[in-house]
Amino acid sequence: MGVSSLVLDPVKVLVGLAVLWAVVALAYQVLAAWGGGRADYSRRAGSAARGVAFSFTVAMTPRHKESVRRHPAKFAIGVVMHVGVILSLLGVLLLLVWPAAAHKVLSLSRPVIALSLVAGLYLLVRRAVSKDLRAMSAPDDYMAILATCVLLALASVYSSYSVGAVVCMIYAALLFVYLPLGKLRHAVFCFVARGDLGRRLGRRGTYPSATGRMV
């Protein structure tokens, strides 16, 4: 048994606990936000299910989403950053249960993660220099990007060295602790919000819509 295994096991426990905290805390927040919900007494004109389906698919295409249509480059940069974050976290989670696969995922995706790091740094600078973004930002908004950039940096340099893996996992554990507390919780709430919007617009017959015009 090597030194790395001895160190990694308690680290795995730490990451496991952090993931558990994040899942429980986020689930609690979503339930608390729901607060038992409210019945909708209006007579529906359309289908809530079709509205939700539309909201998660067609409504997200540039034809129907002006924010993407007008800002394709900025949107793409945001997507690239998120892909890197997802791959990094996937690698970390695989380290808990299947180290060989984790190593493969992190090694293969290293170029993407490195690109994501560049995208993340761009978003950080953009937030700092744009007067619109500064006006709506709090320290947490900068911290959230910085925190994910550090993860991306660690994941992009991680190799088979055990020290790198340990550092990466400890950092990921900290990130999972922070996840339900700050801006990063949008990772869950964005799906719920989009689903809710689709549900309401579906009932009213606004979604699905065949239209959507270029400006």
């Binding site: 927040q29 979503v30 608390a32 936000a33 729901w34 038992g36 919900g37 409210r38 019945a39 909708d40 007494y41 209006s42 007579r43 004109a45 909201s55 409504a59 989403k65 002006e66 924010s67 993407v68 007008r70 800002h71 900025k74 949107f75 945001g78 937030r127 744009s130 619109d132 973004l133 500064r134 006006a135 709506m136 930002s137 709090a138 320290p139 947490d140 908004d141 911290m143 507390l181 801006k183 949008h186 709430f189 964005c190 719920v192 919000a193 989009r194 689903g195 809710d196 919007l197 309401r200 617009l201 009213r204 017959g205 606004t206 819509s209 239209t211 959507g212 015009r213 270029m214 400006v215």
Partner: protein
């Protein structure tokens, strides 16, 4: 000083309680989802007209969300500076007035185009709920709500005034249609349809009320206008005063029940349709006992069934259509008016963008009743003016009297030279 401190504490408590109630249910999801990407900027007609941070939808939403964070998130409670969380202090509430009433019509265009799917308009309305609860609604808007509650309609028109206007219009219609049987019934029992009108039609736009009466007569409809609670508008919806909005809804439903009608038809009014059709049952926490539709839906039915015959050549000028946000985006009524217009006008042309993606004209959100924001309101109609000009239309049809008022001003300000008409006016004009 102690009394003022106590008063401030009570205001904060009421505001805090209202915010909690307002976001209960799904609203809180939207308070937690914004990533502040800033990509929604140009979806807002006000930002387009004046691109400064205070007009950015993301900035406006964050001003409300910052208060939510203070009381409903862990970091907001214990490290407010880190997440920008703010107390609902009297000063902060004063600042919020300009944000949620003066710089946003809650048209929700940004909601549909948000990269996340955050309902920014719902966030803004939560802010209005809070301000209404602590008595900080702008004076003009509050006066309109008070008029509705105290007199039954926003313009404080008496029942006698309504009846004399109806008699006068019916007289004119009898001459125009060469038919002595034309009537504009008020408070008649046992009719099939209860028609709610905008008091502005009674006071300033009688032609649209007259046109509706003419079409009802041509279709052989058994209809009546309620004698007391006939106002299709609901300014409680705009001000964020849900108890007032609920009361206004309850009165109409009770009047419909007492008159024994089969369905309520809502005249052309964007927020009126949304308020009565979609929000009203939830304010009342019960399903309506009668059916409710927009007049646009019944106009289409009359034409399709052959109950009214139309000749599009009678409306020879080019016509375009403005989509009221609350009717189309938030009401789901986008096609009946188009199908009707294509049958009653000879040359119909769409604005771009349209339907759910249409820009707000700037007259929504109660803006027309808040004179302090008048200049900003007219300025915010700039993009709508550009849309209209690009169509080359001579007539702009819009199924909303608030939009009509704003479009008339926009036409003057930007020298568009267009005429604004209700859809029912074009249908009446096309009667064969």
């Amino acid at each position: 000083m102690a009394a003022r401190g106590e008063q401030g504490r009570r205001i904060t408590e009421t505001a805090r309680e209202t915010l909690g109630q307002s976001v209960r249910g799904l609203g809180a999801y939207h308070m937690n989802a914004c990533v502040k990407c800033g990509l929604c900027a140009e979806t807002c007609h006000i930002y387009q007209a004046e691109p400064e941070p205070a007009n950015h939808p993301g900035v406006k939403a964050s001003k409300v969300i910052d208060h939510y964070r203070r009381y409903h998130t862990f970091l907001g409670k214990y490290l407010p500076g880190l997440v920008g969380a703010r107390d609902l202090s009297p000063d902060a509430l004063d600042q919020l007035v300009d944000v949620v009433y003066g710089r946003c019509t809650a048209c929700g265009r940004c909601s549909l185009h948000c990269s996340i799917g955050l309902d920014i308009a719902a966030v803004i309305r939560a802010g209005r709920n809070v301000l209404a609860a602590v008595g900080k609604v702008p004076e003009g808007l509050q006066r309109t709500v008070d008029n509705q509650i105290e007199t039954g309609n926003q313009m404080a028109i008496t029942e006698e005034e309504l009846k004399s206007t109806a008699e006068w219009l019916a007289g004119d219609l009898r001459l125009e249609m060469d038919d002595d049987g034309v009537e504009i019934p008020i408070g008649a029992k046992g009719r099939r349809v209860l028609y709610l009108v905008n008091p502005r039609e009674v006071k300033f736009f009688p032609l649209s009320l007259m046109a509706a009466a003419g079409v009802f007569h041509a279709a052989g409809e058994r209809w009546t206008i309620p004698s007391k609670f006939y106002d299709v508008t609901n300014y409680g919806f705009y001000s964020g005063d849900d108890p007032a909005a609920r009361e206004l809804t309850r009165r109409v439903i009770e009047e419909a029940e007492s008159l024994g009608v089969e369905e309520i038809i809502l005249s052309e009014c964007g927020h009126g349709f949304r308020s009565f059709r979609w929000e009203g049952p939830n304010w009342m926490e019960q399903e309506y006992p009668v059916r409710m539709r927009s007049v646009l839906e019944i106009l289409e039915e009359y034409i399709d069934s052959g109950r009214v015959k139309v000749d599009p050549e009678k409306n020879a000028d080019r016509v375009t259509l403005h989509d009221p946000c609350n009717l189309v985006r938030w009401g789901g009524i986008s096609e009946p008016q188009r199908r009707v217009l294509k049958k009653v006008v000879a040359d119909f042309v769409e604005m771009t963008p349209n339907r759910k993606d249409s820009y707000c004209c700037g007259g929504g959100g109660g803006m027309l009743s808040m004179s302090e924001y008048g200049e900003r309101r007219v300025m915010s109609g700039k993009i709508k003016a550009e849309q209209i000009r690009a169509t080359g239309a001579k007539i702009v049809a819009t199924p909303c009297h608030n939009c009509a008022d704003q479009l008339i001003e926009i036409s003057k300000k930007y020298q568009l030279g267009v005429e604004i008409q209700a859809v029912v006016e074009l249908v009446y004009n096309a009667l064969a």
